[in-house]
């Protein structure tokens, strides 16, 4: 089959191939693979220059504001102790607030037990499950620190994660710092391995690039830090799902910049079955582009508005173009390819596309490994990259269906992420 393909390739005119692959080469690879290469080369050149001058690059934490870590969770009694142990005592001026969102599994008593033996831990409780946002807002009210770090109750922080995530706040313009997420159960099965690769690829390096380009528009709820004044200006979190995206965009609107701390790593468990993964991604995608970029925060793209900032527009445009238009483009391509054009050499074409994609993917793998602090682990995760194109297509279809569902039926407002009384009461953007 491979020989067939090489033969097929050798008789193709380069123009023919270019006509088929132009979108991938011009759009996708420019945005992701080539720009990452440029970023890597620039950084390596910088390192080389410093090395020649005899300067050692050393990790030094110079900024040390007071920090309040908010851990909100629902029915996480099993994990909360490990989570708290991973953070307690890891930073000098740290207060910890645990919020129990009306759990029924002893989460509250587990957290209280920890607080009794560890000073500086406050445990709060919502009377009933109310969703993550009010729990975070409750904690915000009782925090006093300059920097608020929010993390999930089922995640754990790597060494120095809090030190890393507060460093960008030395710049007064920074309102939010996104932390990096890695997958703790990466090698459980194929599903988690693929997700681990995806996190490494799109969060660890992807956000590094977005932050460099100034178009980072999300700080994950699982681990991100906020300047207190920025949170006070936006009066905390709005109703979720997607409350992390929403808050990041609102803080941007308030005039702050978003930074990324790639080495502030939070380890989280990802879904272990396809079913759970699909459910999670439907939730994420429904509460993504349509709900926030196209409806609630469409004013990012409003040139006539007095608040219009070009920087904000690029954030919006990046999502609009690469997450929405490209998605539509790819869907249209597949529909045309299989239903209308039906070329006889279809598998040769697809294989070419696949290999081409794989080439660009390989560049990104190299980028991930260059920046990695845990090279052995990350290289092992990257070994799955040959499946990445198929996985990406799978995610793309989920995004496509979810986007349509949200656009037509506002499905994200039926999501049980927020309880019924909250869903019914809030504005259906």
């Amino acid at each position: 089959m491979l020989i067939d393909w090489t033969h097929w390739l050798s008789v193709r005119h380069p123009d023919e191939l270019l006509a088929f692959l132009w979108a991938l080469i011009l759009i996708d690879s420019t945005r992701y693979a080539l720009s990452k290469t440029v970023m890597c080369l620039t950084d390596m050149a910088g390192d080389f220059y410093r090395w020649i001058r005899g300067e050692r690059r050393q990790v030094e934490f110079t900024h040390c504001p007071t920090v309040c870590l908010i851990v909100a969770g629902y029915n996480e009694a099993e994990n909360i102790r490990f989570t708290l142990e991973s953070v307690w005592g890891s930073y000098p001026k740290l207060e910890i607030i645990v919020v129990d969102d009306g759990s029924q599994d002893g989460f509250f008593s587990q957290a209280l037990q920890f607080a009794q033996s560890h000073p500086g831990v406050l445990v709060l409780r919502m009377p009933e499950r109310s969703g993550k946002s009010p729990a975070l807002n409750l904690a915000l009210r009782y925090s006093r620190a300059e920097i608020i770090v929010a993390m999930d109750a089922d995640s754990q922080l790597s060494e120095n994660a809090i030190w890393e995530i507060v460093q960008p706040f030395a710049d007064e313009n920074i309102g939010v710092v996104a932390g990096s997420l890695s997958v703790r159960n990466a090698f459980t099965n194929l599903v988690t391995w693929l997700q681990a690769y995806e996190y490494l690829h799109s969060i660890f390096v992807g956000r590094l690039l977005s932050a460099r380009l100034g178009i980072l528009g999300i700080a994950s709820g699982a681990f991100s830090a906020f300047r207190r004044t920025a949170l006070e200006q936006t009066v905390g979190w709005d109703v979720g799902p997607g409350e992390d995206l929403d808050l990041t965009l609102r803080i941007r609107k308030a005039g702050y910049e978003i930074a990324y701390a790639p080495y502030a790593e939070c380890q989280t468990n990802v879904p272990t079955t396809w079913r759970a993964l699909i459910k999670q991604r439907f939730r994420w995608e429904r509460s993504g582009i349509v709900r926030h970029h196209f409806r609630k925060h469409l004013d990012f793209a409003d040139w006539s508005s007095a608040n219009f900032r070009f920087g904000d527009f690029t954030v919006w445009f990046d999502v609009f173009f690469f997450n929405f238009l490209c998605m539509i483009g790819i869907v249209v391509f597949f529909v045309r390819f299989f239903l209308i054009d039906k070329p006889v050499d279809w598998w040769e074409l697809l294989l070419t596309l696949y290999l081409c994609y794989l080439l660009f993917e390989l560049i990104q793998v190299l980028a991930a490994c260059i920046y990695s602090n845990y090279l052995r682990r990350d290289a092992a995760i990257c070994a799955i990259f040959v499946f990445a194109p198929i996985y990406q297509i799978f995610l793309l279809w989920i995004r496509f269906i979810a986007t349509i569902q949200e656009a037509l039926f506002r499905k994200s407002f039926e999501d049980n992420f927020a309880p019924a009384r909250v869903r019914e009461s809030t504005w259906h953007w």
Partner: protein, 282 residues
């Protein structure tokens, strides 16, 4: 309380002295043992004397003994068919007869104080503000050693870790121990996820959300009440739970209950010689 006393409601020990005096004096033939009390309140067991009872009233006891060079307070133990137990005696008279010496006295004195049921277990003492035994444990142990008292159990008291004074315990702030604290009444507005104190919502006689400015909020439909954590008015500490805080009544020290000094205090029992039982039975 002495066990015997509590079992017999008409015990002599509950009657005032004037009433006890009116009760008749009875002849009584029972062997007795006389234990002198040393100045340090311990029993002088070596110098104990065999004796026998002559008569008994609710206020005193008459005894006869072969030899008697006793002076000062004594404890008398009597064991007969109708009567059994110990009592403290203050010697009042002595009469030398051929072959024996008769002596007697009033029930009371130091011996009575030692045998008093109230003094054999935990007792609050006002002056030094202490929760402890009236007589030192070593004194009571000495009496237990010779069989007059029996150790029956142990009480546990929590004392001030600084001065061993008596504390009170009450809920208070985990940080500073203050008893001045309040709870915030909060409102969770469903629509915008805002959580804030009720007073921030009150606006011209109606409830208005300070975040999203929605007016006329109705409980249950638009919002729910949330009870915030306790807030200490002295040090601004927040906590969902209060700590049991001890406060010493003597040196004013505040300390968490876990830091209290734990003291074991034994309790004792004595079989009391109850004259009234004898008097009424006859």
């Amino acid at each position: 309380m002495n066990k015997n006393e509590s079992q017999i409601p008409s015990s002599a020990w509950v009657l005032p002295f004037s009433e006890r005096r009116r009760l008749p004096r009875l002849p009584l033939e029972s062997p007795a043992i006389v234990v002198p009390i040393r100045p340090n309140l311990r029993p002088d067991w070596k110098n104990r004397r065999e004796a026998h009872c002559l008569d008994l009233s609710a206020t005193g006891l008459g005894l006869a003994c072969k030899s008697n060079d006793l002076a000062g307070p004594i404890v008398v133990g009597v064991e007969g068919s109708r009567v059994k137990g110990y009592t403290g005696l203050e010697l009042r008279y002595r009469e030398h007869l051929p072959g024996e010496i008769r002596f007697g006295g009033a029930i009371g004195g130091v011996g009575e104080a030692i045998l008093n049921g109230d003094h054999l277990s935990l007792c609050y003492r006002y002056g030094p503000n202490k929760l402890d035994l009236v007589f030192s444990q070593s004194v009571l142990d000495a009496w237990a050693e010779v069989g007059v008292l029996q150790q029956t159990g142990v009480d546990l008291v929590q004392l001030c870790p600084r001065c061993l004074g008596l504390p009170t315990f009450r809920p208070g702030c985990r940080n500073c121990g203050s008893a001045r604290f309040t709870n915030d009444q909060l409102i969770h507005h469903f629509a915008c996820a805002f959580v804030g104190p009720v007073q921030d919502f009150e606006h011209h006689g109606e409830l208005r959300c300070p975040k999203c400015r929605t007016r006329g909020l109705i409980v249950g439909r638009d919002f729910e009440y949330v009870v915030g954590p306790y807030r200490c008015l002295d040090c601004h500490w927040h906590d969902m739970q209060l700590e049991q805080v001890g406060q010493c009544l003597q040196c004013r020290l505040r300390f968490p209950v876990g830091q209290a000094f734990l003291k074991e205090i034994p309790t004792y029992h004595v079989d009391r010689l109850d004259p009234l039982v004898v008097c009424q039975a006859s």
